[in-house]
């Protein structure tokens, strides 16, 4: 069977070599390929473009589900013909549109905007922590203040201790704590408020496989400035000050996983709020 990809990540194209890559995990909407230390999602979930990902047509995802299995299937990369080949399935991305997941930093971005106007409509959404997004952002949940204090701290021991309560915490394949921190990392991409120590300790925990592979992959992509399309569109809309478009991007983020989208949104709002607070102090 041969399927043609709709879109392929430039990061995937640049990274992949002529090697065998095993299927790491399978889901309803596609599968993860383990390649060069990264997980490359091949499939289609709400047409989202993911770092290192390959977007297939929805009807093709249904077709390949029976052919691909975790631990048993592996793909050989054919660089010349731009295909992934396994017995029974060829994924041809030679004609696919190429996209990049890299966030282009714009130092002119400012966090000054009415955050209630942008995020208000999601404040009652319940996160995987049990609290609503609004409750988390408003600091009504005790842990939030503690982690906020770590953002620019230099005390690595304390940061590590606190991060251990968040990394890998909660239900889901990407536990809620990891999704929340992903939101923080993206907010930091936009407004640069995290100190080096915080990121360094996060890298250490990710490196030591303190959480699931899928979360670790998420962290490393984020630290490489790679994010899915909905994030990039959110940032772009922020730059253009298009509130409606920000809302649309947020709504797409909310669709991630079971509670993942809401956990991420909580982190994003918390991070931007923090950046705004710091900005006001200047």
């Amino acid at each position: 069977m041969e399927v043609k990809a709709k879109q392929v990540s430039s990061e995937f194209l640049n990274m992949s070599k002529e090697e065998d890559y095993p299927v790491h995990s399978c889901f309803e909407h596609g599968f993860n390929l383990a390649a060069e230390g990264r997980l490359c999602f091949i499939g289609n979930k709400h047409d989202e473009l993911l770092p290192y990902g390959i977007l297939l047509k929805k009807e093709d995802v249904k077709k390949i589900r029976d052919v691909v299995s975790q631990g048993e299937t592996s793909f050989c990369m054919d660089q010349e013909r731009q295909r992934l080949v396994s017995s029974g399935l060829v994924i041809d991305f030679s004609g696919a549109q190429v996209f990049s997941s890299r966030y282009q930093k714009d130092h002119r971005m400012r966090p000054q905007m009415s955050l209630d106007r942008i995020f208000g409509f999601i404040k009652d959404e319940k996160t995987g922590f049990g609290d609503t997004i609004g409750q988390i952002v408003s600091g009504k949940c005790g842990n939030i203040e503690v982690i906020r204090n770590c953002f620019r701290s230099r005390d690595k021991e304390v940061i590590c201790h606190i991060l251990k309560k968040w990394v890998g915490y909660g239900p889901g394949l990407t536990p809620s704590g990891d999704d929340f921190l992903l939101g923080i990392l993206f907010a930091d991409e936009m407004f640069s408020f995290l100190g080096d120590s915080f990121k360094a300790e996060l890298v250490k925990l990710a490196d030591s496989r303190y959480t699931t592979d899928v979360s670790v992959n998420q962290y490393f992509c984020a630290l490489q400035h790679l994010f899915s399309k909905s994030f990039l569109e959110f940032a772009n809309a922020w730059k253009e000050r298009q509130v409606n478009q920000m809302a649309e991007s947020l709504k797409r983020i909310l669709l991630f996983g079971h509670t993942s989208g809401r956990d991420i949104a909580a982190g994003l709002w918390t991070g931007i709020q923090y950046a705004e607070d710091k900005w006001r102090q200047l």
Binding site: E28, F129, S176, H258
Partner: protein
């Protein structure tokens, strides 16, 4: 005992983990289970719950940990087997037949169930309002299980529903019964003569189940959503439902219940009910009425409301409840013992709190505080279904764990005398909650006994004998364990109070004459009447489990596997909603008129003449026409610029490439889109004054369209070549081919009628974009006899006929002019959303729609995907260009992929099945079929007719265009063929602009 199962390296997405948790929780013998990835942080959570085991601690972050508290060793294997089965089913879900019978959009849903009168919506809250709005536009009543809908949206929906004579039940409506069909989380209740309208989910469950067990029944129980009686919403749904119940034949008595309503709304409801033609019982939770009125009874508890209704239906006298708790060994009041109540149903918790507060004369208000309904002097009433307690865990109606934990804490408190709880049966609840709670209750009873304390367990089972969990079975299990099982929550609370030495008294209420009010007429729409008088016909949008229950009750139901429309873009969803709700008929009428013109068109090939003789824009200046929407020289692709150079040389405006480029860069040439002068051009589309063009007239509308002739293959102007060979060929076409064809065509008195020719060729396997060979041959067949008899040079005659027979794609350009003539005739109607042009210039894709006239809606082009000739690949491809997408606009080309199975492989589209799927998919975005052009391989169905921009936006399906792929460098020529889709942004912009034209803000 605690059992651990570790699934190493098992990656399941969060929804699957949650569903698996629910499934294992429901297994017999499992009292507690937690399923999470075994990350260090989660191990702490397991530890806190007492579920840390050596196997768990040894597991890694990528291992799925299932830790269960089970009765028997053997259960571990059973859990493992269930888990494997469940995960296997998840993996094969996509291919199942059942999945295929689902629909994926509103059109499919309505087509499958045209008589549907109810939409049940359980999708993420941010989208629920838009889908509910759509359902109302389709004339459906709405049951909104979804929560997180804003109050503003709720108000708008309910006002709209009321104006349209429809009902919106919800949002956050968990329970409903319509003509005995349970909707969402409901009990299986006998049908009967009592109707209920309620702003309370478990309140409805308690009422219906008591009524059933008392031997009567409920045919309709309409949930209104918890905010319906707020000041903002004004009780819209409640009033409409009350009005409908008044006329409903099977209903003799109506119960109206609510949590505390806004005063003004309450007064309106009460005023209405004073004029009610049937006996009615009200219950506004928290109020303690002291009287009844004639035919208008006021209850304090759910139990009272149910009993009164039953008495009324039986024509019996309404008297106070005579229930006396049978309690032996009760504590004395002075011993100051306490009640700890842990509920899964919010209304039941509220009722318990109210009764305890009132009986013990506590001076506190009702309402939740930090998760407690009541927390005074050691008495606790908790709603465990509250958000505070459901920390990513299953609801207490399906998971006993939290309740057991609370009960353990309660027994540790020496003041506790009574532990009060509910067991809610029905669809959506735990399979066997009594059994699930049993071990904990037994353990705690034993503990209390050892400590020589009397701790009573009191419960009520909210269910019926028809509920699949079995009411009698659940009751017996509890009774055998020494739990006091009461017939209702009120009786359970009354029993609990008696056990701590406090007497709950229900006062006899006097029945006074009904207060006089003005009589009024109340209208009920036929649709709402029909809703509650017949079994509903349902489109279920969201949770599949709801469909499964509905099918069990022989309800007509379509499962709509929902994904956000318009790619989840809320602005566009609103725009589509605006057009649909305000202008559906107007747009439908306009679109019908447009496609009627397409069908009625009569294109005729009249002549071949120099372009300058029919396009006046060439007069007196240097003009080049180009393909696509307007573009500047500097933004043109290399092939298009190459074509310009070739045209300049052909027109002798310059004698060398350098000179030509200098002229072009200096802006000495005016560029006009072909489309703006009634023309179309293939690939670069460059057309100059002296190039011969086909003249096609649409006789029906009297308009004409023009297109240059096909130059053949190889190095040709349209792909950007401009060598002497190219110019020489253009000269030949100007001097020989054009005039000869013109002369030949003019011998046909009325021109060559093109529709029959197209109909013939489509039946011979042409799709008219990538494959025109049949049409080209038919055209040659028409002209060859005439050409042979023309007075002309023999060599030239031979060259012309040879050229026509060698150029398989010759008819493409005639087809383009034909499609242009037809679409331009149709777009004289300047309303509607029919796409009237699609074209590309290598930079942008542009479309026009009927309602926006000449305005272009553009977005960056995509690059075609397909098969490449040897030695070329995607890297070499030019971005998409050409006016040839006018063929798809008309309904052929990629829109008729199935007509040309022969080309499907060539354009990389796969085999016959793929071509069929593509063509069927294209039908999703068009209005109808054109009966003039039947496709044999499509079961002789007509080609697609009228691409509707709204459908493209809503469904995210863009037209497919078959196209040649040019090399990105000028002059190399065609390097492949494939398909390309327009960017959906073009259609989004067009729809938005049209909505604004119609007043959208």
């Amino acid at each position: 005992m605690i059992k651990t199962i570790i699934k190493k390296g098992s990656y399941q997405d969060s929804v699957v983990l949650m569903l698996l948790t629910n499934k294992i929780s429901a297994m017999e013998g499992v009292s507690k289970v937690s399923i999470m990835m075994a990350t260090p942080a989660n191990k702490d959570i397991f530890k806190a719950s007492g579920l840390d085991t050596p196997e768990l601690l040894a597991a890694g972050a990528n291992d799925m940990a299932i830790v269960a508290d089970v009765e028997e060793e053997a259960l571990a294997d059973q859990i493992l087997a269930e888990t494997e089965e469940f995960l296997k089913n998840q993996a094969s879900k996509g291919g199942s037949k059942e999945a295929d019978s689902s629909v994926h959009n509103w059109e499919q849903a309505i087509n499958k169930l045209p008589g549907a009168n109810l939409a049940v919506i359980s999708i993420p809250g941010v989208y629920a309002a838009a889908e509910a709005d759509r359902a109302l536009d389709e004339g459906l009543n709405v049951f909104m299980f979804s929560d997180n809908v804003t109050i503003e949206d709720e108000m708008a929906l309910k006002k709209k529903a009321h104006e349209k004579g429809l009902l919106v039940m919800g949002p956050d409506c968990g329970t409903g019964i319509i003509q005995s069909v349970p909707v969402a989380f409901t009990n299986h209740v006998a049908p009967g003569r009592i109707g209920i309208v309620g702003a309370s989910g478990t309140g409805i469950q308690e009422l219906t189940t008591i009524i059933d067990r008392l031997g009567e029944g409920v045919t309709n129980a309409i949930g209104t959503g918890g905010r319906d009686l707020s000041q903002a919403v004004g009780g819209i749904t409640m009033l409409d439902a009350i009005n409908a119940m008044e006329d409903e034949k099977s209903t003799e008595v109506v119960i109206v219940i609510s949590k505390p309503p806004a005063k003004e709304v309450r007064d309106v409801i009460v005023e209405r009910l004073r004029n009610y033609k049937k006996p009615v019982v009200t219950l506004f939770l928290g109020e303690k009425p002291e009287i009844h009125e004639e035919n208008f009874y006021h209850a304090y508890t759910l139990d009272e409301a149910a009993r009164i209704a039953v008495k009324l239906v039986r024509g019996e006298k309404v008297i106070k409840d005579t229930f006396v708790p049978a309690v032996e060994g009760a504590y004395k009041k002075e011993e100051m013992k306490t009640i700890k109540a842990y509920y899964s149903g919010g209304t039941l918790a509220g009722e318990a709190a109210m009764m305890i507060r009132d009986t013990l004369s506590m001076g506190v208000g009702l309402g939740k505080k930090e998760g407690f309904m009541l927390n005074v002097d050691g008495h606790i009433v908790v709603d465990l279904g509250d958000d505070v307690y459901t920390q990513g865990k299953p609801h207490p109606m399906i998971d006993p764990a939290k309740r057991c934990e609370c009960m353990r804490d309660a027994v540790d408190d020496p003041s506790t005398a009574v532990i009060l709880f509910d067991i809610v049966l029905g669809y959506g609840s735990h399979e066997d909650m009594a059994k699930a709670l049993l071990p904990c209750i037994q353990e705690l009873k034993e503990k209390a006994e050892k400590e020589k304390r009397r701790v009573y367990f009191v419960t009520t089972v909210c269910g019926t004998g028809k509920d699949y969990q079995g009411y009698d079975y659940q009751k017996k299990l509890m009774e055998d364990a020494g739990v006091l099982v009461c017939e209702s929550n009120k009786q359970a609370v009354q029993t609990a109070l008696a056990l701590i030495g406090c007497e709950y008294e229900e006062a006899e209420k006097e029945i006074v004459p009904l207060g006089q009010t003005k009589a009024k007429e109340y209208e009920v729409s036929e649709t709402v009447k029909r809703l509650i008088s017949e079994k509903p016909s349902i489109i279920n949008i969201g949770l599949k489990s709801f469909s499964e229950v509905l099918k069990k009750f022989d309800c007509e139901v379509v499962q709509f596997d929902w994904a956000p429309p318009a790619g989840g873009n809320m602005e566009l969803i609103k725009v589509l909603g605006y057009l649909r709700s305000q202008y559906t008929d107007q747009i439908a009428e306009a679109n019908e008129a447009v496609i009627a013109k397409i069908v009625a068109a009569s294109p005729v090939l009249l002549d071949v003449v120099p372009a300058k003789s029919v396009i006046k824009e060439f007069e007196g200046r240097k003009v080049l026409l180009h393909a696509g929407p307007p573009i500047r020289w500097e933004n043109m692709t290399s092939p298009m610029q190459g074509s310009c150079v070739g045209a300049v040389l052909f027109e002798k405006w310059a004698s060398s490439e350098a000179e030509a480029r200098e002229m072009l860069e200096a802006g000495e040439i005016t560029f006009i889109p072909c489309h703006h002068v009634n023309a179309v051009g293939p690939m670069g589309g460059i057309t100059s004054a002296n190039m011969p063009v086909f003249v096609v007239e649409n006789i029906t509308d009297g308009n004409r369209a023009y297109c240059t002739m096909n130059e053949g293959i190889g190095k040709v102007l349209r792909f950007g070549a401009y060598s002497q060979e190219v110019v020489d060929r253009l000269n030949w076409m100007r001097d020989v081919l054009g005039p000869v064809l013109g002369k030949a065509i003019r011998t046909f008195e009325d021109g060559i009628s093109l529709s029959p020719l197209i109909a013939k060729a489509i039946a011979m396997g042409d799709e008219f974009h990538q494959r025109n060979i049949a049409a080209s041959l038919v055209f040659l067949k028409e002209l060859a006899p005439v050409i042979t008899r023309l007075e002309m040079d023999e060599k030239e005659r031979y060259d012309v006929i040879k050229f026509l027979s060698d150029t398989d794609q010759f008819f493409l350009n005639i087809m383009m002019a034909t499609a242009k003539a037809v679409m331009d005739g149709a777009r004289t109607i300047q309303e509607g959303t029919v796409v009237t042009a699609m074209c590309r210039n290598g930079e942008n894709f542009g479309i026009r729609i009927s309602g926006m006239g000449d305005e272009w809606f553009t977005a960056p082009v995509n690059t075609p995907q397909g098969l490449y000739f040897t030695g070329y690949d995607q890297e070499d491809a030019s971005p998409d260009m050409g006016d040839s997408a006018i063929t798809e606009t008309f309904g052929v080309g990629g829109m008729a992929m199935i007509a040309a199975p022969a080309v499907t492989r060539f354009v990389g589209a796969g085999g016959y099945e793929d071509a069929l799927n593509t063509s069927n998919e294209m039908m999703e975005i068009v209005l109808d079929r054109n009966p003039n052009f039947a496709i044999p391989t499509w079961n002789f169905q007509g080609i697609c007719l009228g691409i509707d921009a709204r459908k493209v936006v809503e469904k995210g399906i863009t037209p497919v265009i078959n196209t040649g792929i040019a090399h990105k460098e000028a002059g190399v020529g065609q390097i492949g063929a494939g398909t390309v889709h327009p960017p959906v942004e073009c259609f989004e912009k067009a729809v938005l602009a049209y909505a604004k034209k119609l007043g959208y803000e």
